[in-house]
């Protein structure tokens, strides 16, 4: 296999409140021999909120983000479901609406850039599964995860709307996604089957509707726990934040204790590939996760 090379769009969380996401991603790429070039010029994707306020500005800024991957001529890889959907929505709009693309390019020209539409945008999860390959990952497992019952939590913005997502997620069925389950099994872990795995965590209304957010996070986590999960894994740092930080308030609302570690997808892979504790960064979790390394 020739060496895989990607332009890495880190997103904001990996550079701020979830440093463990960035360090584990880089460690996994290193172990697997994948070359990642961080797009240091990139700005925030707007996190699905900026477009509520100013849709044109949101498209202009995301088009600029994509321009920098185009300059490298590399597929753009994301670490966050919401970054993925925002960038993909801009690409979809610009690739199918020439007038709109011209309007956006008129603005980009002012800073010497042009959106061409010639690179793909893919979440790291699907780069690993569909391009690196599960058998190749399996072959590199040093610490099998066979002691763990792992509940995959997919996160909305990687699987819906399927018409948009299926161009980059290997045709995942939004009502019965399997990629994370297959990854868990490739790492020799036990994938937990539970109804909430493709549901919403409520992150995006956490400020204005904490009751909704707590209800959705609480329901999903209790569903995982009731199906014997020891740990939850998610490809989305926003799901991670809501589920890691809000366990106490979600549990209080549900009237039950919730206490379960929430791993980022690359952290899980890093554990199985035998990366260092520092790279995996389990100490950065609010819900205790440090016991997972070496178990």
């Amino acid at each position: 296999m020739s060496k895989l090379k990607y332009a890495l769009y880190t997103g904001c969380t990996a550079k701020e409140s979830t440093p463990e996401l960035l360090s584990s991603t880089l460690a996994v790429a290193d172990k697997l021999g994948i070359e990642l070039t961080i797009l240091e010029e990139a700005s925030c994707c707007g996190a699905s909120h900026l477009q509520d306020f100013d849709p044109f500005l949101s498209h202009v800024l995301n088009a600029r983000n994509i321009c920098y991957a185009e300059k490298l001529g590399l597929t753009m890889v994301t670490l966050c479901n919401t970054c993925q959907i925002n960038l993909a929505m801009t690409k979809e709009k610009l690739d199918h609406d020439n007038d709109y693309r011209a309007k956006v390019n008129e603005k980009l020209a002012e800073v010497g850039l042009e959106y061409k539409g010639n690179v793909k945008i893919k979440h790291f999860l699907y780069a690993l599964i569909d391009e690196y390959g599960l058998e190749n990952i399996s072959a590199k497992v040093e610490v099998p995860l066979s002691h763990f019952n792992i509940a995959p939590f997919y996160g909305c913005h990687n699987i819906r709307p399927s018409e948009l997502q299926n161009t980059s997620n290997g045709g995942e069925n939004p009502y019965n996604p399997t990629s994370l389950d297959r990854l868990i099994e490739a790492l020799e872990g036990n994938a937990v089957d539970y109804a909430s795995k493709n549901k919403c965590c409520g992150f995006h209304v956490d400020l204005q509707a904490p009751h909704t957010s707590n209800a959705l996070t609480g329901t999903a986590l209790l569903d995982a726990i009731d199906n014997n999960a020891d740990v939850v894994v998610t490809p989305c740092p926003l799901c991670h934040l809501n589920m890691d930080i809000k366990q106490k308030s979600a549990g209080k609302q549900a009237g039950r204790d919730i206490n379960i570690p929430i791993l980022h997808m690359p952290q899980m892979v890093a554990l199985a590939l035998g990366c260092t504790a520092k790279e995996i960064g389990l100490k950065f979790h609010v819900s205790k996760a440090t016991h997972l390394k070496g178990a």
Partner: protein
């Protein structure tokens, strides 16, 4: 060689008048390539159990009566090919009503909450009509296109009962009501835009409680993409000056403030800015936990000492914001 496929249907059964609890009943049948879910519902009723109940009427995907869920996926029974579902889910198909908690009998639910919310957004043109007009009302091509596909809604309830925000917050209007609100607000003949925008701007009931899960876009059998109309309502609130300054609108607008400064989102600052000096206090517990874990730092909000990354070529981002920003709060 048989050109049919053996399918095991597990159908949700419940009669609110006689049953304490719902149960699932299995029906095995050979299904042909042209059969629709509605054909299978009919076969359960005609070949197995005459008491099996479901709604159906037009059989042409226009009356919106026959919406159910199959393996969790919202479908319009009269439009959905059965073997396509077998391809997606395998040979066991689980037929369930759109909302189990609103079930009356088998696939039939009480859709009262749907109709109540739909009616509340004034899903009709509000206008003073000249009793003796001298010419028809004209609409430009652009005005027609602006309504998008919102006019195709058949009120089937697929998106409404797929929405998790509605599931946990009964005050919330839900995606179908928002599609109707947008459709008539975008109509140039209509005079009730402000009413509808104010109604759908309220926290708790309005568009700001949308969790952005895209379940509605996935569920709609007419491919209407309700969340696109929800975004349009968000945008119109700013464009028409209806948006008031609250935690949700400041949160959306606050992204510009952060991106202008850093390129990235300042995660702590956006909470502080959106909530205001009093509201932010309720996040102190979480902030302390995050600080303890090393996710955020006490120095983060002090210039030059914090953890805030800065995008390279920030001047480009700032210039693009200056020349591209179209809305204001």
């Amino acid at each position: 060689m048989s050109d049919t496929t053996k399918v095991n249907i597990k159908a949700f059964r419940f009669n609110a008048e006689t049953d304490y609890l719902p149960y699932y009943k299995s029906y095995e049948m050979e299904v042909g390539k042209d059969e629709l879910v509605l054909d299978l519902l009919n076969r359960i009723k005609w070949e197995h159990d005459g008491s099996f109940s479901y709604r159906r009427s037009c059989r042409h995907g226009i009356c919106g009566a026959c919406g159910i869920k199959v393996n969790g996926k919202a479908v319009l029974s009269c439009k959905q090919n059965a073997l396509e579902l077998v391809e997606l889910f395998g040979n066991e198909l689980i037929f369930e009503p759109q909302s189990k908690k609103r079930v009356v009998k088998d696939m039939i639910i009480d859709k009262g909450d749907f109709w109540e919310k739909h009616a509340e957004v004034k899903p009709y043109v509000v206008a003073d009509i000249d009793e003796h007009p001298t010419h028809e009302t004209q609409m430009s091509q652009e005005e027609v296109e602006n309504i998008l596909d919102a006019d195709y809604c058949i009120q089937c309830g697929s998106c409404h009962y797929a929405c998790p925000a509605l599931e946990v917050n009964e005050d919330y209007f839900g995606p179908a009501a928002f599609v109707a609100a947008y459709r008539f607000t975008a109509d140039p003949r209509d005079n009730a835009a402000k009413d509808r925008l104010e109604m759908t701007a309220n926290l708790g009931a309005g568009v700001w409680d949308c969790v952005k899960c895209f379940e509605c876009a996935e569920a709609c059998p007419k491919d209407i993409n309700p969340i696109e109309k929800i975004t349009k309502l968000h945008n119109l609130q700013f464009e028409k000056g209806v948006a008031s300054r609250n935690v949700a609108t400041k949160h959306a607008e606050g992204f510009v403030r952060s991106i202008k400064k850093h390129g990235f989102l300042d995660e702590a600052d956006i909470v502080k800015y959106s909530e205001g000096p009093i509201g932010v206090l309720k996040h102190m517990g979480d902030a302390l936990k995050m600080m303890k874990a090393g996710k955020i730092h006490i120095t983060d909000q002090i210039p030059f000492m914090g953890n805030m990354p800065k995008s390279k070529n920030l001047d480009e981002i700032q210039k693009l914001i200056k020349i591209s920003q179209t809305n204001k709060l």
